[in-house]
Amino acid sequence: MSNTNKPRRTAQETQAIVSASLRRRYWAERRFRAYGLAAIVAALTFLVYLFFVIFSNGMGAFRQSELELAIYYDPAVVDPAGTRHVDDLRSADYQALIRASLKKKFPEVEGRAATRELSRLVSGSAAFELQREVVDDPKLIGTTRAEWLLASDAVDLLQKGHIQRSLPEAERPLSDNQLRWIDQLSREGSLALRFNHTFLSRGDSREPENAGIWGAVVGSFYTLLLTLLLSFPIGVAAAVYLEEFARRNRWTDLIEVNINNLAAVPSIVFGLLGLAVFIGFFGLPRSAPLVGAMVLTLLTLPTIIIASRAALKAVPPSIREAALGMGASKIQMVTHHVIPLALPGMLTGTIIGMARALGESAPLLMIGMVAFIVDIPKGVTDAATVLPVQVFLWSDSPERGFVEKTSGAIIVLLVFLVVMNTTAVILRKKFERRW
């Protein structure tokens, strides 16, 4: 006995071995810290670069070149019959008002070709702008007012430095004459970059200067709101049933495995399913936020169910026992104690699911939300598109003006995401009990 109990080494020997290994151990720790730091720096660099590119490209989209012109609302042009009737006001030739104003500003311009060149400085949509103002307020007729009108996209590109003046005339979208007029307007302060209301208040357009993001924002809002309304209750109810009420047997195991599998299914498959079932079989409208939301619900449900089950599992058993020991029935235990404690975790899962849903485009392409839609959707069954699909559409457009619109749309998408996540985090904090 005493032989085996005798230490193999003296205390000094042991200490010597320990100190010898110390340097190696500390070195390993330092090395690991350096790896971690390098990883974080690399990740941050990519992120900063990404944001820099997006913001430097996209901020231009929030400013737009506009021309200031003194418009005389000539009664002879606007309302030749003098009825002041809305239909008459609508059908008037407002382009003529702009032509007349330009003519007055540049009296030296003569001839058909030059006049057309001159009027190309103004966007084609400016006439509609005037039409709307007159219809809104017929009293304008007969007066002269200075109006800021949308410049054409070529003028806008020049103002933002995307067109090189040094190129030969034939290779740039603006002629020498047009450049001269633009310079003159700039000198007079009648041509300026102003805040782009159009971008934030209109739907899509084929003309870059008229294209707006609002249609996609509203589409995304409807789609996500419906997704939330559908997926949160269904997901939470499924999780509560599986976790608290279902018996553990082969069927629940099978369901669990399949929920986990569904979370990994590529999203485009859900799009095809939605196309076949919701549109093909049930005959729901195409391109509608309703169908988009149903598809995205299928997509987010597994995430919400898995996160909610994990949150329910994390509720301490002592709380369940306390409730049952008081004589609470199972449903009282679940609704009074377990769900309130699991709610923050459930909300976290929902945030992750909704963030994924916001960024999805592939399944929505399948159900027709990729269509060119000019109108702002007024309900969940109206044709609509969503932000990521709008980004996809614009990035595909050939016009130079859409480049900055694409980045602008990404900025709006990011802002949407941040607002949504902040709301969710605030909600979660509210429900979280830190006692």
Binding site: I319, A322, G325, M326, G327, A328, H336, L341, R433, W435
Partner: protein, 293 residues
């Protein structure tokens, strides 16, 4: 006999594995289910006979038979894993919540089998309250903790009555003076001993007939323990109390009757004074003299 011993050594785990071997050497009850001492009392509230509990394949307690008297404290002692908590949890059917747990035998509460189909488990738990080892107040205010039971059972007609129940329960649990100014504070902000008294107040707010306590003082310091023990003495006037404890001193202080469990068998039952001064079974004697456990 050998087969039984081997089986028990297998059932029993870790620290008491050594004990099991030693126990195999000493005498066991002549036959399984035969308990030394008097298991009956006059006019019992609980009458349990031949109670077996299985956790899946594991036979946790065997043929336990014991009466639980009104207005008295029954202490259940024994080494870890001996089945005393398992038996306690049979009395309000908390074992129902454990998957694979199976309870056999008859447990009569006031002459009615608690496993009877007509016996509602919610009602049973309102009659047989439970205080757990670790204080487990709900993450709600002190008031809400006590008011929860009366609220779900509909015991209070209006707010005034509910206030009164909360007041009385906290008073009887000896907590009123300490918390009367902060009823809206969270229950978890109290100290461990206060939390356990809050749990007792919560239990008596439902006005049960029996209170089960599963090592209620094991997480508390001696001062908090002394308060709970005093409280038990008072509560005994109105309720039957069954307490599981690891402390033999506590059993001796608070109980009138003591039951000694060993590896799933109820070895000996008797008056507490008699058990601690004159144990009849060898295993009981070994345990209370500190030879193992």
């Amino acid at each position: 006999m050998d087969a039984v011993t081997v089986e028990r050594a297998g059932i029993n785990q870790k620290p008491s594995g050594r004990v099991a071997e030693e126990a195999g050497a000493v005498e066991l009850p002549a036959e399984t289910g035969r308990t030394v001492g008097t298991i009956t009392v006059e006019d019992p509230i609980f009458r349990c006979r031949d109670v077996d509990v299985y956790y899946g394949e594991k036979h946790a307690i065997r043929k336990v038979g014991i009466d639980i008297g009104k207005n008295s404290v029954l202490a259940m002692i024994g080494p870890s894993g001996c089945g005393k908590s398992t038996f306690l949890r049979c009395l309000n059917r908390m074992n129902d919540t454990i998957p694979n747990a199976r309870v056999v035998g008859s447990i009569m509460l006031d002459g009615r089998d608690i496993h009877d189909k007509k016996q509602d488990v919610v009602q049973l738990r309102a009659r047989v309250g439970m205080v757990f080892q670790k204080p487990n107040p709900f993450p709600k205010s002190i008031y809400e903790n006590v008011a929860y039971g009366p609220r779900i059972h509909g015991l209070a007609g209006d707010r005034v009555e509910l206030d009164e129940i909360v007041h009385n329960s906290l008073q009887r649990a000896g907590l009123w003076e300490e918390v009367k100014d902060r009823l809206q504070h969270p229950g978890t902000s109290l100290s461990g001993g206060q939390q356990q008294r809050l749990c007792i107040a919560r239990t008596i707010a439902v006005n049960p007939e029996v209170i089960l306590m599963d090592e209620p003082c094991s997480a508390l310091d001696p001062i908090a323990t002394a308060r709970i023990e005093d409280l038990m003495e008072e509560l005994r006037q109105s309720y039957a109390i069954v307490i599981v404890t690891h402390s033999m001193q506590q059993a001796a202080r608070v109980s009138q009757r003591t039951a000694y469990f060993h590896l799933g068998d109820l070895i000996e039952v008797g008056e507490t004074d008699r058990i601690f001064t004159n144990p009849r079974h060898r295993l009981t004697e070994d345990y209370i003299t500190g030879r193992f456990g």
